[in-house]
């Protein structure tokens, strides 16, 4: 209980800092913290049940995917069929890591292993999709003069947007690249901490963490590339033109 009280106090600190710094994030911070508390309490209540029933586990993974799709889809503001494009990127990205890990037997398909691993990979794919997609959409507005200059020089839309795609994907992958580079030196990721707190040996925890982190590299690169490709397709009009999002 002490842990929750201290953590709640830190949320108040974050809200006060936002007010002092005039960031305007006070409401977002409060809602985000409350939402996290409700969600984790709910998961805590049902996870035992889910761990015991494979059918419920599949539903749980589907809910994770749907929620991630909704979250990332909102970042692709103005792009036609945004949720479908975000969902395809997240699913393809997560599958890139999950399928080999399950098929090879690195992790079992029991709910107790499937759910946490799928959650981490879908979460990673969601972040890469959101950041890459949002950055690309912003550039389609801010950088439209340069994009149309390239089009006017006679290159197809895909080539005219290549530099923007590269910039967006680079931004979208900064998190996982920095996290992987600095793991153990600056950060101790959640999987490692959770396993150690749960009683696993540090060596075992490190092995599992490394597996997940390296899988996330492939997951996030795939998600970033797919969402970029799908956003480009979404704004490409007949005649090698772009339609601005909005």
């Amino acid at each position: 209980m002490t842990q929750v009280v201290v953590a709640a106090g830190l949320v108040v600190v974050a809200i006060l800092l936002s007010r002092v710094g005039k960031l305007g994030l006070e409401r977002d911070l409060a809602i985000t913290a409350l939402r996290a508390a409700v969600q984790l309490a709910a998961v805590g209540a049902i996870i035992t049940l889910v761990f015991d029933h494979a059918g419920l586990a599949a539903v749980f993974v589907a809910v994770m995917l749907a929620t991630a799709t909704f979250t990332s889809g909102r970042r692709l503001r103005g792009v036609p069929d945004a949720p479908w494009r975000a969902g395809a990127a997240i699913a393809a990205g997560a599958a890139t890591g999950l399928v080999p890990l399950l098929v090879s037997g690195a992790f079992s398909t029991t709910p107790r292993e499937l759910i946490p691993v799928a959650g981490i990979l879908i979460g990673g794919a969601m972040v890469a999709t959101s950041v890459t997609g949002q950055r690309l959409v912003e550039q389609l507005v801010d950088d439209v003069a340069a994009i149309e200059t390239r089009l006017a020089l006679g290159v197809p839309v895909r080539e005219a947007l290549a530099a923007n795609v590269r910039r967006a994907a680079t931004t979208g992958l900064i998190g996982i690249l920095d996290q992987t580079k600095n793991v153990g030196l600056v950060t101790l990721p959640g999987t490692f901490v959770g396993l150690v707190l749960g009683g696993a040996s540090p060596a075992d925890a490190a092995r599992v963490q490394l597996t997940v982190l390296l899988a996330l590299l492939a997951v996030e690169v795939m998600a970033a590339l797919i969402v970029a490709r799908l956003v480009v397709a979404g704004v490409t009009a007949p005649g090698e033109r772009i339609t601005r999002p909005g």
């Binding site: 200059t149 390239r150 006017a152 020089l153 006679g154 290159v155 090698e240 033109r241």
Partner: protein, 212 residues
């Protein structure tokens, strides 16, 4: 209201037939006819918002017309592959954007096959020294960037050039140099369509004038 004054019609490099342009539910041009012949400079003048820049964009299919058609050397532009059309008809936008890298990279951008001599010739045609090739494009002055933008279009070996307010942001010396360049381009056999709000510039450089 469209008025024609001494518009040449010989062997049009670029021609519009009953072109209609609409933006945001508003019709900017309706049934607009224009012809720009080889070696001709046609100036398009008119107040802001009348549709001059929209016309240039439509001529290279960055926007689609609501009606009518565009002909390039007698070929319907809608039948040309869009990228090929944009190489044949070079559009130099107002306040042209320099791309990443040096001037050479700008001239060669998107060209699958090119030789250095062709790039050098395009640069020379705009009156810039060969040493400009290695200059960082985004560090050029307004007048230099305007010329590099023209050279960039010329490197694609176009039959016509569309210049949108080419002197608007330039000092008088640079503007005079660009005016001379416009005439030189026409003397090379290109059809040149210049959008400007400056009628004096149009009088000095153009063979024909179209008022919108």
């Amino acid at each position: 209201m469209v008025a024609f004054d001494n518009v040449g019609v010989s062997v049009p490099r670029l021609k519009t037939e009953k072109l209609t342009i609409a933006r945001g539910g508003r019709t900017l041009l309706r049934g607009f006819d224009l012809a720009v012949g080889a070696g001709e400079v046609i100036a398009l003048v008119g107040p802001s918002g009348v549709g001059k820049s929209s016309l240039l964009r439509t001529l290279v299919r960055l926007d689609e017309p609501a009606g009518g058609r565009v002909l390039v050397d007698g070929i319907d532009a809608s039948e040309l592959e869009p990228c090929a059309l944009r190489r044949r008809v070079g559009l130099v936008m107002q306040a042209p954007v320099m791309l990443e890298g040096d001037v050479r990279a700008n001239l060669a951008y998107g060209l699958e096959a090119h030789d250095e001599a062709a790039l050098a010739a395009a640069l020379a045609a705009t009156g810039l020294d060969p040493e400009f090739m290695t200059r960082t494009a985004r560090e050029l002055s307004g007048g230099e960037a305007a010329r590099v933008a023209v050279a960039r279009a010329l490197a694609r070996d176009p039959v016509a050039l569309l210049l949108d307010e080419p002197t608007a942001a330039l000092d008088s010396a640079s503007a005079a140099a660009v005016e001379t360049l416009v005439r030189d381009l026409a003397d090379r056999g290109l059809g040149v369509l210049v959008v400007t709000h400056d009628e004096a510039l149009a009088d000095r450089t153009a063979d024909g004038l179209v008022r919108l």
